[in-house]
Symmetry: C2
Subunit: 334 residues, 2 copies
Amino acid sequence: MKKIGNQTIKFDNPPTILETASIVGPKEAQGPLAKYFDQCLEDEFWGEKSWEKAESKIIKETMNSAVAKSKIASSDIDFCFAGDLLNQCISSSFGLRDSNIPFFGIFGACSTFVEGLGLAACFIDGGAANYTLSTASSHFCSAEKQFRFPLELGNQRPQSAQWTVTGAGATILSKNGTGPFVTHFTPGKIVDMGIKDSNSMGAAMAPAALDTLVTHFKDTGRNPSYYDAIYTGDLGYIGKDILTELIATKGYNIKSNYNDCGVMIFDKDSQDTHSGGSGCACCASVFSGYIFNSLKTKKLKRILLIATGALTNSTTAQQGESIPGIAHAVSIEL
Amino acid sequence: MKKIGNQTIKFDNPPTILETASIVGPKEAQGPLAKYFDQCLEDEFWGEKSWEKAESKIIKETMNSAVAKSKIASSDIDFCFAGDLLNQCISSSFGLRDSNIPFFGIFGACSTFVEGLGLAACFIDGGAANYTLSTASSHFCSAEKQFRFPLELGNQRPQSAQWTVTGAGATILSKNGTGPFVTHFTPGKIVDMGIKDSNSMGAAMAPAALDTLVTHFKDTGRNPSYYDAIYTGDLGYIGKDILTELIATKGYNIKSNYNDCGVMIFDKDSQDTHSGGSGCACCASVFSGYIFNSLKTKKLKRILLIATGALTNSTTAQQGESIPGIAHAVSIEL
């Protein structure tokens, strides 16, 4: 691998995405992408006594499903990269503690899935691994409880709020294979434009997505039209519109081939999800479900996946801080 | 780089540790390693309005200090790896949000510093970077508030408890240089032996340190005596004794050349720190201060640094869960 331009890593022998898996909750099961997920749960507990334990079970079983589908032994996976939204990333560390795979805990808020996918690709192309696993999870109930209000309060949510996806996505990369290939990785910088409304995460994260997207185009010499599709992680309806407008001022037109996983995963009108989906699992499950399917069936041949994260918590909000954003991008090509 | 044995990465062109920096709080300033830190603060707030903001300032200024001492421009640093103990790793992301360096958020609890150092070395040896920055922080007051009890309560602490280090350490790696070199990286697996006492973190983490240490010896074919010194991150007095005993049962004797950063940073008798120091900054500041000095002055020529982390939070403790541990190791040699 080598760095090209300011901050993009180009892989010399692009790793193959061998297999993916996704498990989602009951609300996601009613959304337009339901048929692409491996498993849809009937309730948010999945037989566990707490939402946190349920989230750990989801990431664990998603990992197990990806390994089973890939037909490689889990002992052949050299390294695992995982993270989530819970304090101290407990859903990953408890969910994967029995995996017996060397473990890298990562935190990029909702950008975690692509951060892990990019790091994993670096390990493979750099020569340290033959197989890697990257995974990320989120859970509507554990996230609401932790970041906002007790669900029992029945608090009203503003129209700019997003709905945290319950679920997980997992991806196994292989050194050898016939694609889809991870060809480039553009890790993002932290961008903070001063947005303080924690019910408007899309607006807070859109400038970070803009920064990474423009950098990716400059570093690679590519234009938006190079890609069949460009997907952001969870900007939602509001953030998607902001990004589309902002990038036009930089001379790039993404109107015809750009969508956001948070816009895609729910039906806005019937599901009352306001500005759309969010959470690590939004991008992770939509990629591991719908997008990977589109690549395997060659409906899409070149995509850019940009996961976005808001690097904030409830303490910083209480202390009057703004919301720093970050966005990490990977190019995936046949 | 290439993988050797089960889970160790051997670097083909070992990156040089170009420079380090460390800033610590007032209690650490009264400890036996005080003279090795770049800066010792007079109070826990450092002019900020909250402990969280103080911790962000500490990691920011530690990064700035490392960059200034290295005499390279911060714009020449390709990627930054950072993390901390606060929920959603806010001290890193707020502290480094103005750095303008592509950012990887990582979470390995108190193992974070070595996780970042190892990832950074992989990026350099793999070809993706010429310079990297790795940093980690912790803060006694923000950690106590978040993980245990309000400080104002004046709660008594059991003798097995550890004292979270206030501070940060930062390391700049360079592709070219004359050493000290990062030669090997053994990332750890999650190990959970069922310990549930969150006032006995050393005991919870010792089995993970054992697993990584034995794996490192097996993977590299080295014995403990190969190293001038072996340092764990923050097992403290109790965890240090457990590790020394456990590894003897595996046929390795580390009694003569092993110490723990948590044991070294405080004077147990005069400082009332019970089982010793802990926190991301324990290993980060002791390495970036004392140990790096010993390498530069050639008092030590070959060391193994194993940072240990407890992947737990207050919710998992309340839900009756045990404490999973992890340990990541790097070999550093002249």
